[in-house]
């Protein structure tokens, strides 16, 4: 690696590089491990876990849009118990950070999940999903209310000593306010952004293309929005940011870091190029060599605004 230091740190947790895999885009790691060496990435964020298993929404769950896609999976997941029994043993054989994403319908459910999962040593941090647009209860109802985000952050922090990241919704007027409230209540970082609410119709049947009517828009189409949200948080709140939103190549990663991100997550690109993370790490190394950057983390929030 020619001595280039790609590592970043959030709340004392060291990541070998800033490339994480986003929740809901890699399940619990097994399938993508056939294409990608998970030892080579900074971390993996699990599919959202809820206290009990969730079946998720009926089909159709996804539809492609211009340079993006809408999804309404509905938080299908195996639940805490099966996650600990069947999924953690696979994940913990890798030398990478395991970040457990938690989704819940009530504040009590968040607490209960984290209380159980925090006893598992293989989990390095929690990402709290307060911004899923595709479930009836919880999700965006929490993510759109600063008081709820404050409460959830505080109660979760009270039951774990592990780092807690709050995953924020872009479907709000001022995302920085949510980041400020998360920080005030002890959050160690914010992940930004979750998907944007969108929809699509079939003109022949006049029906929505996805069963849930609306879904979350992701992919390259949302990158400029995500980048602006990261910048907004960076300019208004001193909290580490994990940038997410349409990141597909090493240039995108660097752009997010310059705009304020400490680390980033790859999402939709995993569906198309499951080995994207490997190429991205190599691209970043080449960039650092060209730009004579010794420590990649020096790039974070290095923007030069007029």
């Amino acid at each position: 690696m020619n001595g280039i230091d790609l590592s970043v740190e959030i709340a004392g947790l060291k990541f070998k590089n800033p490339i994480l895999l986003a929740s809901g885009t890699v399940g619990y790691g097994y399938e993508i491990s056939q294409f990608l060496d998970l030892n080579k990435i900074g971390g993996i964020v699990t599919k959202s876990i809820s206290l009990k298993p969730r079946k998720g929404n009926p089909p159709q769950r996804i539809v492609e849009t211009a340079s993006g896609m809408l999804n309404a999976i509905g938080l299908a997941n195996v639940g805490v118990e099966e996650f600990l029994k069947d999924k953690i043993p696979f994940l913990k054989q890798y030398d990478t950070n395991i970040i457990c994403n938690i989704a819940a319908s009530t504040i009590e459910e968040y607490v209960e999940c984290v209380k159980i999962l925090t006893t598992e040593d293989a989990i390095h941090a929690f990402e709290i999903n307060v911004s899923c647009p595709n479930v009836k209860e919880g999700g965006l109802i929490f993510g759109n209310d600063p008081d709820q985000v404050s409460t959830i952050t505080a109660v979760v922090k009270a039951v774990t000593s592990k780092p807690v990241f709050i995953k924020l919704s872009p479907n709000t007027a001022r995302i920085a306010e949510f980041a400020i409230r998360a920080k005030e209540n002890g959050a160690d970082a914010v992940s930004a952004i979750n998907t944007l609410v969108g929809t699509a119709f079939n003109i022949w049947t006049r029906k929505p293309k996805i069963h849930n009517v609306t879904g979350g828009l992701s992919g390259p189409a949302i990158k400029p929005v995500a980048l602006a949200k990261v910048l907004e948080i960076s300019r208004n709140c001193d909290i580490p940011i994990i940038g997410i939103g349409g990141i597909s190549n090493y240039e995108d990663v660097l752009e997010f870091m310059i705009a304020g991100a400490t680390a980033i997550q790859l999402g939709t690109i995993n569906f198309v190029q499951p080995d994207a993370a490997t190429k991205i790490v190599n691209g970043i190394i080449n960039y650092c060599e060209t730009m004579k950057i010794n420590k990649l983390r020096s790039l974070t929030a290095s923007y030069e605004l007029n």
């Binding site: 993508i32 056939q34 211009a66 569906f271 499951p274």
Partner: protein, 252 residues
């Protein structure tokens, strides 16, 4: 399951909107089971963003054949490929048809381009008797490439019997008296649903190749759920648990 590049040998128009894409890929040609599919990126830009799933239609030597219908931007782009173009594919994906088992006669039932996997399936059913029933809206939907012993129906009667392919199959059930048959089917969901009901009612074993919108093709996007007949608490995934299922295992 690998990510690889396959080389286009040719793109041939079979009918109005129906094409054969032939690609050189010794690795896939030697390992594909009928009913498996690949997920193909039609270009390297972000539009279309997602890969497109295609079942492998046939294998000749080191070449794999895909049979496709132009119905969107992605498939339209595919028709413009020329010899030597490289295509990025994820393959082989999903499970294929189970061609071994206690039956002496295979009955292949396809709706429209649901016949896509049948030429390869016909080869892999070597030693079994084969009957093929094809249905389509009209003559323009009927492709008989690589098929044996073909019976045709169309909705408008422009070719073969007028009516649905399921009806045509049921009208010919007497052909199979004294034979141990297994049905292999692929086509639109309403057709498969009607067929599934008819097979269960007549106590005939069968496998169906299902379809559903999907992004990744290997289980990470969770985009393609299908009801599990044996466990209502969770869905199966078309891409990974299927696309081929026994008729007793799923609810359409």
């Amino acid at each position: 399951m690998i990510i690889t590049e396959i080389t286009v040998s040719s793109v041939e128009q079979l009918k109005n909107h129906i094409y054969h894409l032939k690609c050189y890929s010794p690795a896939l040609a030697s390992s594909i089971k009928a009913g498996q599919f690949l997920n193909l990126k039609v270009n390297d830009t972000t539009f279309p963003l997602l890969r497109r799933p295609f079942s492998i239609s046939d294998v000749i030597g080191d070449e794999i054949y895909l049979l496709f219908n132009v119905h969107g931007e992605g498939t339209r782009m595919l028709t413009h490929k020329v010899k030597g173009d490289l295509l990025d594919v994820l393959a082989p994906l999903g499970c294929g048809f189970k061609t071994d088992g206690d039956f002496d006669t295979a009955v292949l039932i396809g709706g429209g381009l649901g016949v896509a996997p049948f030429p390869l399936l016909t080869k892999q059913l070597q030693g079994k008797g084969i009957y093929t029933f094809l249905g389509g809206r009209s003559e323009a939907d009927i492709v008989t490439y690589g098929l044996k012993n073909v019976f045709v129906s169309t909705d408008d009667g422009s070719l073969g019997e007028k009516g649905t392919v399921v009806k045509l199959f049921l009208e010919n059930l007497d052909k199979f008296e004294g034979k141990k048959i297994k049905v292999f089917a692929c086509g639109p969901t309403p057709m498969l649903k009607a067929l599934q009901a008819a097979l269960l009612q007549n106590n005939i074993d069968g496998e169906i190749s299902t379809e559903c919108a999907m992004a990744c093709g290997f289980g990470i996007c969770q985009g393609c759920p299908i009801e599990d007949k044996n466990n209502s608490s969770k869905y199966l995934l078309v891409c990974k648990d299927g696309p081929v299922f026994n008729i007793k295992d799923v609810i359409l």
